[in-house]
Amino acid sequence: MKQVLSFAIVMLTGLGIFIQSRHSENKAGDSTEGYQLGDQVVDFKLSGVDGASHSLSDYYRQGAEGVIVIFTCNICPVSQRNEDRIIALHQKTSILGFPVVAINTNDPEKSSGDDFAAMQARASDKSYPFDYLQDMTQEVGKSFGAGHTPQAFLLDKEQRVRYMGAIDDSPYNAANASQHFIEDAVNHLKQGTMPDPAITKSIGCSIKYRT
């Protein structure tokens, strides 16, 4: 009788171990080249929907303490769900010295609706308070290693990357956000501390690079 009992116990224990042990990892992922935390961003110059050219260094010359670079676009449904948030973010952080600069890197040939005229129309319809720039050569997107939209990078006063990733912890629904990563990161820099977390992840649309 005892034997049957112990057999049953051994089997149950074995099953438990079996279920527990299936968590080993063996990575074989694509890696995205681009700026890492602490890297100093090389100056760039892009055309804005306002018809003017904008350099990263311009914002600093105009007194910015840092810049929030957000890769976004017209057509990605996740970007669209973050559009009002990006507007509100700029309104909040620009007065702290951290303007938003939105960059569209999508190849308009591959991404219908992301051409310059469509960008201008969207910015006008929504009265974007921030600059919306077209990365026609895609060099800026590549230098940041931007993989999807929307994706944000916070640069400090020395143009160094101090935060990269999501705007907040609820990309699909602003009302459910409980952690506002970018805003928190800006507040850290304002207080002279490093953002924590400094890297976060979100879900979004792949950026359409020319291959």
Binding site: M1, F7, A8, L15, A28, G29, D30, K201, S206
Partner: protein
């Protein structure tokens, strides 16, 4: 007498548990998914923890998991390659699952309709987990978070690809080492 009954009862529990731990593939009907997915309730739904648990149930099952959404055009373009593999993996421990990241409030309207329209044969699971920051790195730390993305999940082995497969051959050679 009591001990004898107890041991029978325990043995029965073990047998039931062992059956519950059978590979997922052997417990599921072999008919194409679109025949059963008429409403959102017919589509398995979970958060990421639930997804991990579900993967852990399949003892010898290799899962080929494709993250997609009905709003993602590049995702829809590559779905036919996954569908083309469906007949090949019937009655094998290899299972393709299309993991939908659709917007929760649109899923009831869009997901079953899409499955019907495209007559999707592979299983679709709905991953409803609002905070990707809590789970994207668990899939793969190099994943930027863009979809489509494909994750191979086999006991002790993982593989990951961010981005689209250009054709069926590319998908086949990606999964070949794991099947």
């Amino acid at each position: 007498m009591f001990l004898k009954r107890l041991s029978y009862a325990l043995t029965a529990v073990v047998v039931i548990l062992m059956q519950a731990c059978q590979p997922v593939s052997s417990r599921q009907p072999a008919k194409p998914f679109y025949e059963q997915a008429l409403t959102l309730e017919d589509i398995p739904k979970s958060d990421f923890t639930g997804l991990q648990k579900r993967l852990g149930v399949g003892k010898d099952t290799t899962f080929i998991l494709n993250f997609w959404a009905t709003w993602c055009h590049p995702c829809i373009e590559e779905l036919p390659y996954f569908e083309a593999l469906y007949p090949q993996f019937q009655d094998t421990p290899i299972k393709i699952v299309l993991i939908s990241l659709d917007f929760p409030e649109q899923a009831a309207e869009k997901l079953p309709a899409f499955i019907q329209e495209h007559r999707l044969q592979n299983q679709v699971w709905f991953l409803d987990d609002p905070n990707p920051n809590s789970w994207v790195n668990t899939v793969e730390s190099e994943w930027s978070g863009s979809i489509p993305a494909t994750w191979v999940w086999k006991a002790g082995k993982r593989a990951f690809k961010e981005g689209s497969f250009a054709n069926l051959e590319e998908l086949k050679s990606f999964i070949q080492p794991y099947i």
